[in-house]
Point group: C2
């Protein structure tokens, strides 16, 4: 009776069973070099008999790659990041790689701890959704030797490959769409300048306003649905309340909807609304929500592929930034009649 995972058959066991040398077994397992078919068959039988599985820890130790990548993500329960993660895992598996999942919960101390763990595991590369600040540790020499791809947001102060979406353009188009509906008082509800995505989206909103000669109405103190709801209530209480809202992400969109519901304000009749980041049920709400869609799977896929490019030796290229297009999904909450 085996005592534990450690008591698995090794190359030697298989070799003894098949009455060959260990290298013959190794060659059969890896299929790189030629082995006499007859011998190979005997080896394969022995492998099946013993239930042999190669030990990747030993392979990795031998100086090979660990065939593992680290994924440090801000919040896996955010459907957007979950979509990224799924695509990443698929690409990784297709390359024979495993993905170690780390959820930083948007906290840089956790993120740092997780990167440490990943370095100790000798992951071949890192996919990182960086928190707002404190990434100096990434510049340290030992960590710096590790290929890092930033996901969704560039890493503040650290030049690495990055895959992001057109936050600014997406926000500008959404705002322009509201302007096209004749709105003159369009409010932005979101967080402050901490995050790249936040800054970019607000910048896009402002660009559109400026081009139309309109004044900015921003609430930058909304981080989740509850604070977004409060921000909306305060905006609604103004003497000249906004007639349209641009919500910075899906949490804020939800909070805004809740608050509008409580206030008895109807969308788009009383207030028009466009949010950033699509979610599955948005097409089911009344009214159907007009949203800026981000290509989550594509983002994950491209990031993983970029990492493999680096790993495959094309590492001398300068740092790349891949920018993926967003798409304005026009439904009803903007004031359009749809379908």
């Amino acid at each position: 009776m085996p005592a534990g995972p450690t008591s698995r058959p090794t190359l030697h066991d298989v070799a003894r069973e098949a009455r060959v040398g260990v290298m013959t077994v190794s060659r059969v397992v890896n299929g790189k070099q030629s082995v006499r078919p007859e011998t190979a068959a005997r080896v394969r039988t022995a492998i099946a008999t013993l239930g042999y599985q190669p030990n990747d820890a030993a392979r990795s130790l031998k100086g090979q790659r660990s065939r593992t990548m680290g994924l440090v993500i801000a919040d896996i329960t955010n459907p957007f990041y979950a979509g990224c993660a799924k695509a990443i895992e698929e690409v990784a598996r297709a390359h024979g790689y495993a993905v170690i999942l780390c959820d930083s919960d948007e906290q840089v101390e956790i993120e740092r701890q997780q990167v440490d763990i990943l370095v100790r595991r000798r992951v071949d590369g890192l996919l990182l959704v960086p928190t707002a600040n404190g990434h100096a540790y990434l510049a340290e020499e030992q960590v710096a030797a590790l290929p890092v791809i930033a996901l969704d947001r560039p890493i503040p102060g650290i030049p690495t490959d990055a895959v992001v979406v057109q936050n600014r353009r997406g926000a500008r188009e959404a705002t322009e769409h509201l302007i096209g509906h004749g709105h003159r008082r369009i409010a932005y509800i979101g967080a402050g300048a901490g995050l790249y995505t936040t800054r970019e989206r607000r910048a896009g909103y402002r660009e559109a306003l400026k081009a139309a000669g309109l004044a900015e109405i921003s609430r930058l103190d909304a981080a989740d649905s509850a604070t977004a709801a409060r921000a909306l209530r305060e905006l609604a209480a103004l003497s000249e309340p906004p007639t349209a809202i641009f919500a910075m992400n899906n949490l804020i969109t939800i909070g805004v909807l809740q608050a509008l519901d409580h206030l008895g304000l109807r969308v788009p009749h009383d207030v028009a609304l466009i949010g950033f980041d699509d979610f599955e049920i948005a097409a089911l709400l009344h009214p159907r929500l007009t949203l800026v869609r981000q290509p989550a799977a594509e983002l994950g896929r491209r990031a993983a592929e970029l990492l493999f490019e680096r790993l495959d030796g094309r590492s001398s290229k300068p740092v790349q930034r891949v920018v993926l297009a967003t798409e304005l999904i026009v439904r009803e909450s903007c004031g359009c009649r749809h379908e």
Copy 2:
């Protein structure tokens, strides 16, 4: 200039730098055995100077644990599973463990491939949301004494620890609630008997009907929102259409809502609805959705803790099944007036 992740400083490098033996460094790193404070300080300086990080692959090879667990999940983009994953990662990290994420996409061939990969990595244990069938291969791993905890569903034909929710009871309570509203024709929309959760939920639905002397109206051909929508349209076309719907999961709930919307049927006025599995925006829909909530984070947490119990040596215990309570979140779609 380091050439890559392989050129990291080792224990020997630190030992040379600190002018001590490798074992002294090892002892300082692990802090288990006593080292003279003076020596320890010198070692720590050397570690900092060189930026040394232990190599977990080597540790794992030496027969220690790999401090890694595998998570094979059916679909990370399902918010329910994402909630599980987040909790699992937290518990794992608290124990110094890393989590390798595998998304089987509900396909047993992929699942099997992933388990293979995890075995090769010598993970210390496995958390698995098993697909419907074909788990004979796992019996082999059991022989090899790899601890496996089933998540959300037991593994067909393989006795392992499992953490599940009260599917049957949750479904029964939901159905009873609809009966309490006076409904006599209550339809079940879901998939067939492939999955444990499916079977249990339908069983609960049937228990409630039987106790009330009502006839079953089941559609077992709905696997996603599109097929659920079709099933609902067909039910609505009956001469005596159901007056209430129990939807087996959140995808089906969404499909049902879409179909009702298209048909111009209002909830709960024309048809009452209760779904299994809560989702964030359910409280925002019109009407607010009454749902059976599953404790996703708790499920993940308990599963991870169960695994650590096994790893900590309390492995002689018989197989456990942890059953967590569901909760009927009463809002409006059932016919109740809420708030």
